[in-house]
Point group: C2
Chain length 113, copies 2
DNA sequence: TACATGCTCAACCATGTAGTTAAGTATAAG
DNA sequence: CTTATACTTAACTACATGGTTGAGCATGTA
């Protein structure tokens, strides 16, 4: 919980682009190759490839090279970090989730006993 | 839930900088002037002011001009939008919060009766 | 009135980003 | 062996970003 800071820079930057968010949306359905990720967008192949690279560098996507195709998979851990950061502010927009958080903490304590 | 897309660009971009995230952290404690927001950082006043402008443009901060000082307040609605976007991926990193989500839904249904 | 304070704006610099095209590499298929 | 496919890399353009300094504009204060 200390060098996550650099992660957050990369993750939030990666998420700050609609093309990349859409790519993650696709990857939430199933693993896709670079080509499959590129086709929905009116953009050169190389351009899409660069977006994938950004997602990869942010740790949001992992790549498995299989022959000449590169299979991409959604990697959620860094999304969880971003979510964890945001959760610190949840009390500002709703009290409901505070209750849930309390439930979680209680659950954790129960487990630790 | 349709032109939120542009919001998300701005919000995630604003969050992709450690200085700005730290500023939000300060604003979570209490309202602060631009000067107060600037002092913790080894950066010119004008530089800090520009960061605040970015937060403001992203809708994360509102400003109240009071005499010659500008009071800044955290505005959480856009953070909530970002969180809502992330929540769509929660199932990928934990099952626990799915349960909580189910609880919330059940709660909502109970209230609607 | 004069001066200090809080902040913005404009101009500038260095670097980064998003996109392109073109060429190169490796793998699969004929 | 030859060609098509999947992808990367490099070079380039245009523009955004993060930072600076210096000037300017209100608003307090003496």
């Amino acid at each position: 919980m200390v060098e996550h800071v650099a992660h957050l820079d990369a993750v939030f930057h990666a998420l700050a682009d609609p093309t990349r968010r859409a790519m993650l949306g696709q990857l939430a359905e199933r693993e896709l190759t670079i080509g499959e990720l590129a086709t929905p967008f009116s953009m050169s192949f190389a351009g899409a490839s660069k977006h994938v690279r950004v997602l990869e560098n942010a740790g949001l996507v992992t790549r498995t090279i299989r022959g000449r195709t590169h299979l991409c998979r959604l990697e959620a851990a860094r999304l969880a970090e971003a979510n964890a950061w945001l959760r610190r502010y949840q009390r500002f927009w709703t009290a409901r989730l505070d209750t849930l958080e309390a439930l979680l903490l209680a659950e954790d304590e129960a487990k630790q006993k």
